[in-house]
């Protein structure tokens, strides 16, 4: 039973991945304009001169001809992908897209990864406590306050934080991911500078994100608390802490857990606004730049990476669910 379920899920994800690759190939080609004309246009803007037809032809030779047979283009695209080749960035010609992605990825994983986990942990923990004692003073103050927090626009929080802590107080740097005067590598000074640069962007993300987890968890806990098995556990005389975490929270967490897995999948997409406000060198900014400059190969590369990680995270969530929730196995 369990294996059949797994096989079906895997099949679904493979199909979804294939569809994602197909769409990723097709969408930019359905958009108006093509990358080679975009380059020509930019060259003409920069030089103020008409670009000869030969230039357009050789640019197409480098970046692919948008007027070639679609099936042929797709075959070329797949062949490239199978070699791990995401193509050459247009605005950074001749730098490969993969190089740019690898340069940005660690920063995003570090910043968004840790903050997603932290925000989830803080929010969930506080949510359980608030939900367990729904209506208590703790709940009555914390819950409306976090609702307010979640509705404050993130970029505003980030700009304000940068102004106060970075400029007025001078506690944190104003931009970047590390002190560029230090040699890069595994030294204590370097690690400290990475932390120093990361603390403010990280704090703003956690500050804005934990409220969402808190509210979800609180509301689920409130419902779970009234379930018979929780009453039974209490009736058995188990310690309140044990009942709260082992009985109520564990079950209330299931929906939050799915959300968490999806959020982890989204980590690779980066935190666009954070990266813009703090000039943080991650994937979010790379995507933003590629969109702004119509760098199709870079756009495609980043999109594909994001889609595939989201799919992977969903798959992991699905599999974990099988272990966590026996009802799924029963139905499967």
């Amino acid at each position: 039973m369990r294996w059949a379920f797994l096989a079906r899920r895997l099949g679904f994800y493979l199909a979804a991945a294939a569809a994602a690759i197909g769409l990723n190939f097709l969408l930019p080609r359905l958009m108006p304009g093509d990358p080679s004309s975009a380059i020509v246009e930019e060259l003409e803007r920069v030089s103020g001169q008409q670009v000869p037809a030969e230039t357009l032809m050789s640019i197409r030779a480098i970046f692919g001809n948008p007027h070639a047979n679609l099936a042929q283009q797709f075959a070329d695209y797949l062949r490239q992908l199978s070699h791990g080749d995401l193509g050459v960035s247009v605005v950074n010609f001749p730098v490969p897209v993969a190089d740019l992605v690898w340069q940005a990825l660690p920063w995003t994983l570090l910043l968004v990864g840790t903050t997603t986990i932290t925000a989830f942990a803080i929010g969930t923990l506080l949510g359980v406590v608030a939900g367990w004692k729904a209506g208590s003073r703790f709940d009555a103050i914390l819950t409306p306050f976090t609702t307010f927090l979640s509705s404050v626009p993130y970029f505003w929080v980030a700009l304000l934080a940068l102004w106060i802590f970075g400029f007025v107080l001078g506690w944190t740097p104003l931009s970047g991911g590390y002190d560029a005067d230090l040699p890069q590598g595994f030294s204590l000074a370097y690690a400290v500078s990475v932390l120093h640069h990361g603390v403010l962007p990280a704090a703003t993300i956690v500050f804005s994100a934990f409220g969402g987890w808190l509210l979800g968890m609180r509301n689920m806990t409130v419902t779970t608390v009234r379930e018979d098995y929780v009453l039974l556990a209490q009736a058995k005389g188990l310690s309140p802490k044990r009942v709260m975490f082992r009985y109520a929270a564990r079950n209330a967490m299931l929906p939050s857990f799915t959300g968490f897995a999806m959020a982890l999948g989204g980590v690779v997409g980066g935190a666009l606004l954070t990266e813009i406000v703090f000039s943080y060198p991650g994937i979010g900014y790379l995507l933003y730049e590629s969109l702004q400059k119509r760098d199709y190969p870079m756009m495609q590369g980043v999109f594909l990476l994001i889609t595939l990680t989201v799919l992977l995270a969903n798959l992991v969530a699905d599999l974990a669910y099988v272990l966590l929730d026996p009802r799924i196995r029963a139905r499967g």
Partner: protein, 548 residues
Amino acid sequence: MRSRWRVLLVVGAVLVVGCSGPTGGPAATGSAGGASIVYAKTDGGTTFVRNYNVLGPATDKAPNMELVYEPLMRVDYGAGGVVKPWLAESWAFAAQGKQLTIKLRTDVKWSDGQKFTADDVVYSLGLPIEKPDFSIAGVTYKSVTKVDDSTVKVVFPEPSYATLNQFANILLPMVPKHIWASQNLNTWTNPDPVGTGPFTVGEFKPQQITLKARSDYWGGKLPMTTYKIIPTSADALKAQLLKGDIDWASASWPNGEKEYVAKDPDKHLYQLYSNGGAMSVLFNTAKAPFNDVHVRRALALTIDRTAVVTTLQRPGTEAGPTGLSEQLFGDWLDPSYKGKVQKVDATGAKAELAKGGWTIDNGALVKDGKRYQPSILFNADWGWGNYADILINTWKQSLGLQVKGAGQPSAGYYDKQNLGQFDLAAASTGGASVYGVYRFLSSQFLTPIGKSATLDQGRWNDPETDKIIRSMERTDNVDELKTLGKQLQKIVVDEVPFSPIYNNFYFIDINATRWTGWPTPEKFDSIPFAGMGPDTIRTLLSLQRRGN
């Protein structure tokens, strides 16, 4: 030690013991960096890419490449955009401007120690011809040959006095043949560039590039040992300038006079240098009603230029009727247009319309029973909506004409402009030298509506204009050029193929705490804008350390 203390405060007590040793901490390497100048780049994203393939079609290359690779000539903006020597020592035209002999400096060395020779020039100038996809500078000559070790000959298909400035283009720099000729330029990123410029790449990190000054630069000894480039955002930049973390940047700062200069007028410099360009209203002269000069004049007479620059928080940048900035072209301007900014003149505009037999009825232009309701195309990505609204309101108030706003994102904006699918368009005009500003009006760039044009998007087609432009291309006599330039100014003012609104500027932010000797808009030989090729180098050469 204060900044160290803050670090510790943030990361916590555990690390205190670990990194408060006496030497080698972050503060020690950070501020004691000797004679270094820091430039903050706001328009290049958060990271830099190590790509010194200078001649390739990339639009985002490693920044300040002009400090490594130099062109043959430079444009002297202080003198009306004339061309002056740089790596080339002198030159002479022959054969009615179809042949150019360039003499090279003989004291120039590549940063690897080899001599810079005519072979390098022939290779560098020849690349765009041999590989058209590397022709980003858009060259007009058809061949280059070596005469001797320090002389080359360039041949043009047309008389080309006026296009000499292509050799001053930083997109057409000199590269060493002994290194470049053996590379595959379609895959080579040239990570360790060897150039004739005053700097070499010392250390390249995505968040900071350190350029090292050469000791054997032909142009003289630089006062700094390193030049650092850091990426930043427009918002962070203001704080960094105020704090003195950086020395130099190029970003517009609306209200910069109050927010920055006023805090320390001696050291906080915010400078505006005209770049020769202007934001203008372009008329589509190939279609009614803008093929009628009376309609063009009427609309030009009712543009509220002062309201636009007030909204931009840039008082005093209104363009004169010729579109030539006085800061750059003072000597070239017809005296009768000097110091003139067109005021809104509703009466004059109505008289013009009447002369052409036009009436305005219910918001539309009417003649011979035909109604025209024009629209104005603008680039919505540039936030031009505000200014378009000012134009639309003024036309409505003074003439009763209802113009529709047609904002487009960049892609659509360029497409529509190039295809001629607009009535009015808010567009940039301008260039270096009088010829450079007006060249786009030549009918050699004319294409029918529906076919893409790179220049002359307004479809201006006037034999008189063509004749003058052609004459400018066929002479290098300055007095003659000035006379021809004045004739063109008259055409622009009287016939109004386009109507300038405000002048565009290079915006320069300087914190002169560490370095003094910066040029000022009142007195400059070179514009202190990073990215201006030889001008940037000249600026750096002119600086002095403050205090020692």
